[in-house]
Protein backbone atom coordinates (compact mmCIF):
# COMPACT_ATOMS: atom_id res chain seq x y z
CA UNK A 1 0.00 0.00 0.00
CA UNK A 2 1.40 3.36 -0.91
CA UNK A 3 0.50 6.71 0.61
CA UNK A 4 -2.56 8.64 -0.50
CA UNK A 5 -6.19 7.87 -0.01
CA UNK A 6 -7.34 4.72 -1.67
CA UNK A 7 -10.81 4.84 -3.09
CA UNK A 8 -12.08 1.30 -2.81
CA UNK A 9 -15.32 -0.38 -3.57
CA UNK A 10 -15.04 -2.47 -0.45
CA UNK A 11 -17.70 -1.80 2.16
CA UNK A 12 -16.17 0.34 4.86
CA UNK A 13 -16.29 -1.04 8.38
CA UNK A 14 -18.96 0.83 10.28
CA UNK A 15 -17.29 3.26 12.65
CA UNK A 16 -17.53 1.41 15.92
CA UNK A 17 -18.70 3.63 18.66
CA UNK A 18 -15.35 3.87 20.35
CA UNK A 19 -14.63 5.32 23.70
CA UNK A 20 -14.06 9.05 23.37
CA UNK A 21 -16.37 9.65 20.44
CA UNK A 22 -19.21 12.11 20.66
CA UNK A 23 -22.48 10.28 19.95
CA UNK A 24 -23.70 11.84 16.73
CA UNK A 25 -21.84 15.11 16.67
CA UNK A 26 -21.29 18.11 18.92
CA UNK A 27 -24.10 20.11 17.37
CA UNK A 28 -26.67 17.50 18.37
CA UNK A 29 -25.65 18.03 21.98
CA UNK A 30 -26.01 21.79 21.65
CA UNK A 31 -29.62 21.10 20.75
CA UNK A 32 -30.12 18.49 23.47
CA UNK A 33 -28.55 20.46 26.30
CA UNK A 34 -30.36 23.57 25.17
CA UNK A 35 -33.64 21.70 25.38
CA UNK A 36 -32.71 20.29 28.78
CA UNK A 37 -31.98 23.76 30.14
CA UNK A 38 -35.25 25.18 28.88
CA UNK A 39 -37.34 22.24 30.04
CA UNK A 40 -35.66 22.32 33.45
CA UNK A 41 -36.47 26.01 33.62
CA UNK A 42 -40.10 25.26 32.79
CA UNK A 43 -40.20 22.51 35.41
CA UNK A 44 -38.87 25.01 37.91
CA UNK A 45 -41.50 27.58 36.95
CA UNK A 46 -44.12 24.83 37.29
CA UNK A 47 -42.99 23.97 40.80
CA UNK A 48 -42.92 27.67 41.67
CA UNK A 49 -46.53 28.12 40.59
CA UNK A 50 -47.41 24.93 42.43
CA UNK A 51 -45.94 26.21 45.67
CA UNK A 52 -48.30 29.19 45.46
CA UNK A 53 -51.38 27.27 44.36
CA UNK A 54 -50.98 23.85 45.92
CA UNK A 55 -54.67 23.00 46.26
CA UNK A 56 -55.53 24.11 42.73
CA UNK A 57 -52.72 22.02 41.29
CA UNK A 58 -53.66 19.01 43.39
CA UNK A 59 -57.32 19.30 42.46
CA UNK A 60 -56.71 19.53 38.73
CA UNK A 61 -54.07 16.85 38.78
CA UNK A 62 -56.65 14.43 40.19
CA UNK A 63 -58.40 14.49 36.83
CA UNK A 64 -55.38 13.03 35.11
CA UNK A 65 -55.20 9.28 34.91
CA UNK A 66 -52.04 8.10 36.65
CA UNK A 67 -52.25 4.65 35.12
CA UNK A 68 -52.28 6.24 31.68
CA UNK A 69 -49.32 8.35 32.69
CA UNK A 70 -47.35 5.26 33.67
CA UNK A 71 -48.39 3.57 30.44
CA UNK A 72 -46.97 6.47 28.43
CA UNK A 73 -43.67 6.02 30.25
CA UNK A 74 -43.54 2.32 29.50
CA UNK A 75 -44.43 2.82 25.83
CA UNK A 76 -41.59 5.30 25.42
CA UNK A 77 -39.16 3.11 27.37
CA UNK A 78 -39.96 0.29 24.99
CA UNK A 79 -39.44 2.55 22.01
CA UNK A 80 -36.04 3.59 23.36
CA UNK A 81 -35.06 -0.04 23.69
CA UNK A 82 -36.07 -0.57 20.07
CA UNK A 83 -33.87 2.33 19.02
CA UNK A 84 -30.91 0.93 20.92
CA UNK A 85 -31.44 -2.43 19.24
CA UNK A 86 -31.74 -0.73 15.86
CA UNK A 87 -28.36 0.94 16.28
CA UNK A 88 -26.87 -2.37 17.41
CA UNK A 89 -28.10 -4.13 14.28
CA UNK A 90 -26.93 -1.26 12.13
CA UNK A 91 -23.44 -1.65 13.55
CA UNK A 92 -23.61 -5.39 12.98
CA UNK A 93 -24.31 -4.76 9.33
CA UNK A 94 -27.98 -5.82 9.42
CA UNK A 95 -29.63 -2.71 8.02
CA UNK A 96 -32.88 -4.54 7.36
CA UNK A 97 -33.33 -5.50 11.01
CA UNK A 98 -32.26 -2.05 12.11
CA UNK A 99 -34.91 -0.56 9.85
CA UNK A 100 -37.57 -2.80 11.38
CA UNK A 101 -36.60 -1.73 14.88
CA UNK A 102 -36.71 1.96 13.91
CA UNK A 103 -40.19 1.42 12.56
CA UNK A 104 -41.20 -0.40 15.74
CA UNK A 105 -40.05 2.59 17.77
CA UNK A 106 -42.01 4.85 15.43
CA UNK A 107 -45.04 2.67 16.09
CA UNK A 108 -44.62 3.21 19.81
CA UNK A 109 -44.49 6.93 19.17
CA UNK A 110 -47.71 6.73 17.20
CA UNK A 111 -49.37 4.84 20.08
CA UNK A 112 -48.19 7.56 22.47
CA UNK A 113 -49.61 10.31 20.26
CA UNK A 114 -52.91 8.50 19.85
CA UNK A 115 -53.27 8.09 23.62
CA UNK A 116 -52.22 11.70 24.13
CA UNK A 117 -54.80 12.92 21.63
CA UNK A 118 -57.44 10.88 23.43
CA UNK A 119 -56.38 12.33 26.79
CA UNK A 120 -56.43 15.89 25.50
CA UNK A 121 -59.81 15.35 23.89
CA UNK A 122 -61.09 14.06 27.21
CA UNK A 123 -59.75 17.03 29.16
CA UNK A 124 -60.96 19.64 26.69
CA UNK A 125 -64.31 17.90 26.44
CA UNK A 126 -64.66 18.12 30.22
CA UNK A 127 -64.10 21.86 29.96
CA UNK A 128 -60.59 21.79 31.34
CA UNK A 129 -58.92 23.85 28.66
CA UNK A 130 -55.66 25.79 28.62
CA UNK A 131 -57.15 28.57 30.64
CA UNK A 132 -59.05 26.53 33.21
CA UNK A 133 -56.32 27.13 35.76
CA UNK A 134 -52.55 27.36 35.88
CA UNK A 135 -52.14 23.62 36.27
CA UNK A 136 -53.95 22.98 33.02
CA UNK A 137 -51.87 25.68 31.35
CA UNK A 138 -48.74 23.80 32.32
CA UNK A 139 -50.32 20.48 31.47
CA UNK A 140 -51.00 21.53 27.90
CA UNK A 141 -47.74 23.47 27.62
CA UNK A 142 -45.50 20.64 28.84
CA UNK A 143 -47.30 17.79 27.12
CA UNK A 144 -47.72 19.91 23.99
CA UNK A 145 -44.06 20.80 23.70
CA UNK A 146 -43.19 17.20 24.47
CA UNK A 147 -45.59 15.99 21.79
CA UNK A 148 -43.99 18.41 19.33
CA UNK A 149 -40.57 16.94 20.09
CA UNK A 150 -42.05 13.47 19.82
CA UNK A 151 -43.45 14.25 16.38
CA UNK A 152 -40.10 15.59 15.25
CA UNK A 153 -38.57 12.40 16.63
CA UNK A 154 -41.00 10.28 14.67
CA UNK A 155 -40.09 12.06 11.45
CA UNK A 156 -36.44 11.40 12.30
CA UNK A 157 -37.17 7.72 12.97
CA UNK A 158 -38.85 7.40 9.59
CA UNK A 159 -35.77 8.91 7.95
CA UNK A 160 -33.52 6.59 9.95
CA UNK A 161 -35.57 3.58 8.87
CA UNK A 162 -34.98 4.55 5.25
CA UNK A 163 -31.29 5.23 5.82
CA UNK A 164 -30.92 1.89 7.58
CA UNK A 165 -32.65 0.00 4.80
CA UNK A 166 -30.35 1.57 2.21
CA UNK A 167 -27.37 0.30 4.13
CA UNK A 168 -23.73 1.20 3.66
CA UNK A 169 -23.89 4.37 5.68
CA UNK A 170 -21.20 6.99 5.27
CA UNK A 171 -19.96 9.38 7.94
CA UNK A 172 -22.87 11.79 7.69
CA UNK A 173 -25.37 8.91 7.85
CA UNK A 174 -23.75 7.66 11.04
CA UNK A 175 -24.05 11.13 12.51
CA UNK A 176 -27.72 11.10 11.58
CA UNK A 177 -28.24 7.61 13.02
CA UNK A 178 -26.54 8.27 16.33
CA UNK A 179 -27.79 11.85 16.63
CA UNK A 180 -31.33 10.85 15.78
CA UNK A 181 -31.19 8.02 18.31
CA UNK A 182 -30.00 10.42 21.00
CA UNK A 183 -32.82 12.82 20.17
CA UNK A 184 -35.34 10.02 20.61
CA UNK A 185 -33.86 9.04 23.96
CA UNK A 186 -34.19 12.65 25.02
CA UNK A 187 -37.89 12.57 24.14
CA UNK A 188 -38.14 9.44 26.28
CA UNK A 189 -36.42 10.83 29.34
CA UNK A 190 -38.15 14.20 29.17
CA UNK A 191 -41.38 12.31 29.64
CA UNK A 192 -39.83 10.50 32.60
CA UNK A 193 -39.70 13.84 34.39
CA UNK A 194 -43.01 15.19 33.11
CA UNK A 195 -44.90 12.09 34.29
CA UNK A 196 -44.22 12.44 38.02
CA UNK A 197 -44.44 16.23 37.91
CA UNK A 198 -47.88 16.34 36.34
CA UNK A 199 -49.45 13.04 37.34
CA UNK A 200 -47.98 12.05 40.69
CA UNK A 201 -46.53 14.94 42.63
CA UNK A 202 -49.37 17.43 43.12
Amino acid sequence: MTTGRAVTLEQQDPPEHAVGQVPGEVGVWVFIFGDLVVFTYMFGVFLNYRSNEGEVFAASSQFLNQDLGALYTLVLLLSSLFVVRALHWMRSGRGDRASAFFLAALGCGAVFLALKAFEWHHEIGAGRTLNYDHFMTFYFLLTGLHALHLTMGMVLLAILAVVARRGDPGKSQWILLEGGACFWHMVDFLWMIIFPLLYLVP
Binding site: T2, G4, R5, A6, V7, T8, L9, E10, E25, V26, G27, V28, V30, F31, G34, D35, V38, Y41, M42, V45, Y49, L130, N131, H134, T137, F138, L141, L145, L148
Partner: protein, 264 residues
Protein backbone atom coordinates in the same frame (compact mmCIF):
# COMPACT_ATOMS: atom_id res chain seq x y z
CA UNK B 1 -11.86 44.54 -3.66
CA UNK B 2 -11.83 44.76 0.10
CA UNK B 3 -14.84 47.02 -0.24
CA UNK B 4 -16.92 43.91 -0.81
CA UNK B 5 -16.03 42.62 2.59
CA UNK B 6 -16.27 45.90 4.41
CA UNK B 7 -19.83 46.32 3.20
CA UNK B 8 -20.64 42.80 4.34
CA UNK B 9 -19.21 43.54 7.75
CA UNK B 10 -21.17 46.75 8.05
CA UNK B 11 -24.38 44.94 7.20
CA UNK B 12 -23.57 42.26 9.74
CA UNK B 13 -23.13 44.88 12.44
CA UNK B 14 -26.72 45.91 11.81
CA UNK B 15 -27.67 42.95 14.02
CA UNK B 16 -26.00 44.17 17.24
CA UNK B 17 -27.17 47.66 16.33
CA UNK B 18 -30.72 46.36 16.07
CA UNK B 19 -30.34 44.76 19.49
CA UNK B 20 -28.98 47.94 21.05
CA UNK B 21 -31.64 50.16 19.51
CA UNK B 22 -34.41 47.81 20.58
CA UNK B 23 -33.35 47.55 24.20
CA UNK B 24 -32.52 51.23 24.58
CA UNK B 25 -35.79 52.31 22.99
CA UNK B 26 -37.79 49.96 25.15
CA UNK B 27 -35.94 51.03 28.27
CA UNK B 28 -36.66 54.69 27.58
CA UNK B 29 -40.32 53.95 26.95
CA UNK B 30 -40.49 51.76 30.08
CA UNK B 31 -41.64 48.80 28.01
CA UNK B 32 -38.95 46.30 28.94
CA UNK B 33 -41.16 44.73 31.59
CA UNK B 34 -44.47 44.29 29.80
CA UNK B 35 -47.65 45.44 31.51
CA UNK B 36 -49.94 42.90 33.08
CA UNK B 37 -52.61 41.71 30.63
CA UNK B 38 -55.03 41.73 33.52
CA UNK B 39 -54.62 45.48 34.06
CA UNK B 40 -57.83 47.40 34.00
CA UNK B 41 -58.49 49.90 31.18
CA UNK B 42 -58.00 52.71 33.69
CA UNK B 43 -54.56 51.45 34.69
CA UNK B 44 -53.56 51.16 31.04
CA UNK B 45 -54.82 54.66 30.25
CA UNK B 46 -52.92 55.99 33.25
CA UNK B 47 -49.68 54.43 31.94
CA UNK B 48 -50.03 56.32 28.67
CA UNK B 49 -51.10 59.52 30.37
CA UNK B 50 -48.25 59.49 32.83
CA UNK B 51 -45.21 59.69 30.58
CA UNK B 52 -46.24 60.21 26.96
CA UNK B 53 -42.99 61.88 25.92
CA UNK B 54 -40.70 59.08 26.99
CA UNK B 55 -43.04 56.53 25.40
CA UNK B 56 -42.97 58.41 22.12
CA UNK B 57 -39.22 58.94 22.19
CA UNK B 58 -38.42 55.38 23.15
CA UNK B 59 -40.74 53.79 20.61
CA UNK B 60 -39.72 56.04 17.71
CA UNK B 61 -36.14 55.13 18.45
CA UNK B 62 -37.10 51.45 18.65
CA UNK B 63 -38.62 51.65 15.15
CA UNK B 64 -35.15 51.87 13.71
CA UNK B 65 -34.61 48.32 14.86
CA UNK B 66 -37.09 47.16 12.23
CA UNK B 67 -35.05 48.41 9.32
CA UNK B 68 -31.81 47.20 10.87
CA UNK B 69 -33.26 43.69 11.11
CA UNK B 70 -33.68 43.62 7.32
CA UNK B 71 -30.11 44.73 6.73
CA UNK B 72 -28.53 41.87 8.61
CA UNK B 73 -31.06 39.46 7.08
CA UNK B 74 -29.91 40.51 3.63
CA UNK B 75 -26.33 39.84 4.60
CA UNK B 76 -27.34 36.39 5.88
CA UNK B 77 -28.94 35.66 2.51
CA UNK B 78 -25.74 36.84 0.87
CA UNK B 79 -23.80 34.14 2.70
CA UNK B 80 -26.52 31.50 2.33
CA UNK B 81 -26.30 31.93 -1.45
CA UNK B 82 -22.74 30.63 -1.21
CA UNK B 83 -24.13 27.45 0.34
CA UNK B 84 -27.03 26.93 -2.03
CA UNK B 85 -25.68 28.33 -5.26
CA UNK B 86 -27.99 29.33 -8.07
CA UNK B 87 -31.05 27.42 -6.84
CA UNK B 88 -31.52 28.94 -3.42
CA UNK B 89 -35.06 28.65 -2.02
CA UNK B 90 -33.81 28.72 1.56
CA UNK B 91 -31.77 31.90 1.10
CA UNK B 92 -34.69 33.74 -0.50
CA UNK B 93 -37.13 32.47 2.11
CA UNK B 94 -34.78 33.81 4.78
CA UNK B 95 -34.70 37.21 3.14
CA UNK B 96 -38.46 37.41 2.81
CA UNK B 97 -38.98 36.29 6.40
CA UNK B 98 -36.45 38.86 7.59
CA UNK B 99 -38.20 41.59 5.66
CA UNK B 100 -41.58 40.68 7.15
CA UNK B 101 -40.10 40.52 10.61
CA UNK B 102 -39.50 44.24 10.30
CA UNK B 103 -43.26 44.76 10.43
CA UNK B 104 -43.27 42.97 13.74
CA UNK B 105 -41.24 45.78 15.30
CA UNK B 106 -42.91 48.74 13.66
CA UNK B 107 -46.65 48.04 13.46
CA UNK B 108 -47.10 47.37 17.18
CA UNK B 109 -45.01 50.44 17.93
CA UNK B 110 -47.48 52.53 15.98
CA UNK B 111 -50.44 51.19 17.92
CA UNK B 112 -48.69 52.20 21.12
CA UNK B 113 -47.67 55.56 19.64
CA UNK B 114 -51.27 56.14 18.65
CA UNK B 115 -52.31 55.45 22.23
CA UNK B 116 -49.82 58.02 23.48
CA UNK B 117 -50.81 60.55 20.81
CA UNK B 118 -54.14 61.68 22.26
CA UNK B 119 -56.33 61.33 25.31
CA UNK B 120 -58.94 58.69 24.77
CA UNK B 121 -61.38 56.56 26.65
CA UNK B 122 -59.69 53.94 28.84
CA UNK B 123 -61.29 51.15 26.82
CA UNK B 124 -59.80 52.55 23.62
CA UNK B 125 -56.39 52.87 25.24
CA UNK B 126 -56.60 49.28 26.40
CA UNK B 127 -57.53 48.16 22.90
CA UNK B 128 -54.57 49.97 21.38
CA UNK B 129 -52.29 48.58 24.07
CA UNK B 130 -53.52 45.04 23.35
CA UNK B 131 -53.08 45.56 19.62
CA UNK B 132 -49.46 46.38 20.28
CA UNK B 133 -48.53 43.75 22.84
CA UNK B 134 -50.25 40.73 21.38
CA UNK B 135 -48.36 40.88 18.08
CA UNK B 136 -45.16 42.36 19.44
CA UNK B 137 -44.75 39.36 21.70
CA UNK B 138 -46.66 36.82 19.66
CA UNK B 139 -45.58 37.57 16.09
CA UNK B 140 -43.28 34.60 15.76
CA UNK B 141 -44.66 33.48 12.44
CA UNK B 142 -41.70 34.74 10.46
CA UNK B 143 -38.80 34.27 12.82
CA UNK B 144 -39.49 30.59 13.40
CA UNK B 145 -39.09 29.98 9.67
CA UNK B 146 -36.18 32.39 9.39
CA UNK B 147 -34.30 30.41 12.02
CA UNK B 148 -35.36 27.08 10.58
CA UNK B 149 -34.13 27.75 7.03
CA UNK B 150 -30.86 29.16 8.34
CA UNK B 151 -30.36 26.05 10.46
CA UNK B 152 -31.21 23.70 7.61
CA UNK B 153 -28.90 25.54 5.23
CA UNK B 154 -26.06 25.43 7.74
CA UNK B 155 -26.50 21.67 8.15
CA UNK B 156 -26.84 21.16 4.39
CA UNK B 157 -23.56 22.90 3.73
CA UNK B 158 -21.33 20.47 1.86
CA UNK B 159 -18.49 22.85 1.16
CA UNK B 160 -14.93 21.97 2.10
CA UNK B 161 -14.89 24.89 4.43
CA UNK B 162 -18.47 25.26 5.64
CA UNK B 163 -19.77 28.76 6.06
CA UNK B 164 -21.19 28.06 9.52
CA UNK B 165 -20.14 25.46 12.11
CA UNK B 166 -22.57 22.60 12.43
CA UNK B 167 -23.52 23.44 16.00
CA UNK B 168 -24.94 26.72 14.72
CA UNK B 169 -27.36 24.80 12.51
CA UNK B 170 -28.64 22.88 15.52
CA UNK B 171 -28.71 26.04 17.63
CA UNK B 172 -30.80 27.87 15.04
CA UNK B 173 -33.33 25.06 14.78
CA UNK B 174 -33.54 24.79 18.55
CA UNK B 175 -34.11 28.54 18.97
CA UNK B 176 -36.87 28.28 16.41
CA UNK B 177 -38.64 25.92 18.82
CA UNK B 178 -38.09 28.35 21.68
CA UNK B 179 -39.89 31.12 19.81
CA UNK B 180 -42.98 29.06 19.15
CA UNK B 181 -44.82 29.17 22.51
CA UNK B 182 -45.06 32.98 22.41
CA UNK B 183 -47.38 32.67 19.43
CA UNK B 184 -49.98 31.26 21.79
CA UNK B 185 -50.12 34.30 24.05
CA UNK B 186 -53.60 35.05 22.73
CA UNK B 187 -54.97 32.25 24.88
CA UNK B 188 -53.74 33.68 28.16
CA UNK B 189 -54.11 36.68 30.38
CA UNK B 190 -51.65 35.42 32.96
CA UNK B 191 -49.19 32.64 33.50
CA UNK B 192 -45.99 31.78 31.67
CA UNK B 193 -47.50 32.06 28.21
CA UNK B 194 -49.15 35.45 28.56
CA UNK B 195 -47.41 38.33 26.76
CA UNK B 196 -45.54 39.15 29.97
CA UNK B 197 -44.91 35.52 30.92
CA UNK B 198 -41.64 33.77 31.63
CA UNK B 199 -41.81 31.72 28.47
CA UNK B 200 -43.62 34.00 26.04
CA UNK B 201 -41.58 37.09 26.84
CA UNK B 202 -38.37 36.43 28.72
CA UNK B 203 -37.35 33.16 27.08
CA UNK B 204 -38.29 34.67 23.71
CA UNK B 205 -36.15 37.77 24.26
CA UNK B 206 -33.19 35.75 25.50
CA UNK B 207 -33.47 33.32 22.60
CA UNK B 208 -33.83 35.91 19.83
CA UNK B 209 -31.08 38.23 20.93
CA UNK B 210 -28.76 35.52 22.20
CA UNK B 211 -29.06 33.76 18.87
CA UNK B 212 -28.57 37.08 17.07
CA UNK B 213 -25.27 37.64 18.88
CA UNK B 214 -24.05 34.17 17.93
CA UNK B 215 -25.17 34.85 14.36
CA UNK B 216 -23.29 38.15 14.24
CA UNK B 217 -20.11 36.55 15.49
CA UNK B 218 -20.31 33.66 13.02
CA UNK B 219 -21.18 35.90 10.06
CA UNK B 220 -18.11 38.02 10.79
CA UNK B 221 -15.95 34.91 10.92
CA UNK B 222 -17.46 33.67 7.67
CA UNK B 223 -16.62 36.98 5.99
CA UNK B 224 -13.03 36.76 7.18
CA UNK B 225 -12.72 33.23 5.81
CA UNK B 226 -14.26 34.32 2.54
CA UNK B 227 -11.75 37.15 2.35
CA UNK B 228 -8.87 34.73 2.85
CA UNK B 229 -10.23 32.33 0.25
CA UNK B 230 -10.54 35.22 -2.16
CA UNK B 231 -6.94 36.22 -1.64
CA UNK B 232 -6.04 32.78 -2.96
CA UNK B 233 -7.59 33.74 -6.27
CA UNK B 234 -11.16 34.29 -7.53
CA UNK B 235 -13.28 37.40 -7.40
CA UNK B 236 -15.24 38.16 -4.28
CA UNK B 237 -18.96 37.64 -4.54
CA UNK B 238 -18.62 36.01 -7.94
CA UNK B 239 -20.49 32.71 -7.93
CA UNK B 240 -18.56 31.53 -10.96
CA UNK B 241 -15.31 31.87 -9.09
CA UNK B 242 -16.71 29.91 -6.17
CA UNK B 243 -17.37 27.27 -8.80
CA UNK B 244 -13.84 27.65 -10.14
CA UNK B 245 -12.44 27.19 -6.66
CA UNK B 246 -14.46 24.02 -6.15
CA UNK B 247 -13.30 22.60 -9.48
CA UNK B 248 -9.79 23.36 -8.29
CA UNK B 249 -10.41 21.40 -5.09
CA UNK B 250 -11.83 18.46 -6.99
CA UNK B 251 -8.91 18.34 -9.39
CA UNK B 252 -6.52 18.31 -6.47
CA UNK B 253 -8.41 15.48 -4.82
CA UNK B 254 -8.54 13.39 -7.96
CA UNK B 255 -4.84 13.94 -8.59
CA UNK B 256 -3.95 12.84 -5.07
CA UNK B 257 -6.18 9.75 -4.94
CA UNK B 258 -5.04 6.20 -5.65
CA UNK B 259 -6.53 4.44 -8.65
CA UNK B 260 -9.76 2.64 -7.83
CA UNK B 261 -9.00 -0.72 -6.16
CA UNK B 262 -11.49 -3.50 -6.62
CA UNK B 263 -11.93 -6.01 -3.81
CA UNK B 264 -10.60 -9.38 -4.83
Amino acid sequence: MDQHFTIQRVCTWAAPACTFVFFLGFAIADYLVPPDPRSSPQETAAFYANHPESIRAGLVFMCFAGGLWIIWSAQMTNQMLRIEGVSAPLAWTQLAMGACACIEFIMPAYFWLTASYRDRSPEMQQTLNDMGWLPFDGFVWTIIWQNLVIGIAALMDKRESPIFPRWYGYLSIWCSLLYLPAGFNVFFKDGPLAWNGAISWWVLLAAIFGWLMATTWLLLKAITRQQQETRNGALAGDPMSDLARRIDELERKVAGAEPVAVRT
